[in-house]
């Protein structure tokens, strides 16, 4: 176990491009590991990338990934829908009934871990084109009724942390706001977002195609 992990990201985008990312069910111990980049290129488990997303509040995994971790969608009153909205579209998710331990390990064997309760995506609609239809679906009622006014565009947002980014490909000035990233509109959920629920307790530095994760720091 280490306090400092360095992994590669994909150019300017914080896709994890090296190391091992593991997920373990806190209750059953069932776990899955993905080795980058080979397991992403092969599309094992249907996952083609994992993004350390400073703009996502929570960690989101594809629904088909749940069964690999002994997790199934809750039934009855526990089966609440949660709606995530972004410039790329709208996602409908369920909350994992069990916490997961996420581990990120670099090529030198240094590892950082954090327990979180993630979400699993069940439905997705790209921006504008079909968000309304997605939210109106019978199966999502009554959970989507209250969110229509909240769904972008436009929405206002401000946050109180600074993300510092540099890259040989592009310069980013320090920003007292969210890191704005180019979004692949309509991208299917064949990827995993590791959100700020994981990032709390770590300092993340995006530096020239590297992601430096320092345990014990504040969000940078």
């Amino acid at each position: 176990m280490s306090d400092n992990v360095i992994i590669q990201m994909d150019g300017n985008y914080p896709d994890i491009s090296s190391g091992i990312i593991s997920f373990s069910n806190a209750k059953t111990g069932k776990s899955v590991s993905l080795k980058a980049p080979q397991d992403f290129l092969s599309g094992i488990y249907g996952v083609k990338s994992i993004t350390m997303d400073s703009g996502a509040g929570y960690t989101i995994l594809p629904e088909n990934f749940a069964t690999l971790l002994d997790i199934s969608r809750p039934k009855g009153f526990k089966a609440e829908c949660y709606i995530f909205s972004g410039v790329g579209g709208t996602s409908v998710c369920f909350l994992s009934p069990h916490p997961l331990l996420i581990g990120i390990e670099d090529e030198n064997g240094n590892k950082v871990e954090k327990m979180i309760t993630p979400f699993f995506l069940t439905n997705y609609a790209p921006s504008i084109t079909s968000e309304g239809k997605l939210l109106a679906k019978e199966e999502h009622q009554p959970y989507t009724e209250q969110v229509i006014d909240f769904i972008s565009p436009p929405f206002q947002y401000c946050d109180n942390y600074t993300v510092k980014v540099s890259s040989p490909l592009r310069k980013f000035p320090p920003q007292d706001r969210r890191l704005r990233l180019e979004v692949d509109v309509g991208k299917e959920m064949d990827y995993i977002l590791i959100g700020r629920d994981w990032q709390k307790g770590f300092r993340l530095i995006f530096d020239a195609e590297r992601m430096i994760i320092v345990k014990g720091g504040e969000l940078a």
Partner: protein, 91 residues
Amino acid sequence: MALLESLPAEIEASEFEKFFEKIKSDFPADEFPELFIHYQQVDDKILILGIGESGECGEQAYRAYQENPELRKYESTTRILRAPKKRFLLR
């Protein structure tokens, strides 16, 4: 620091919704903007294994399962009592 003094905490199933309401009022949203709860029901009892922020709730539940593996036999679930809307914005 755990929101409840000792976990796991046992509650009568019939009192569960009241317990939710008490938690919400005892821990105001401005101080505790995010509250997750992990629990399981065994007969007419609810066992609270974790409560707090996402990670904190998960850590408590994990410890409970480690200390008492017998708890793994029972169905369990997680609910969100409260979360800031902006956490549901992607970028």
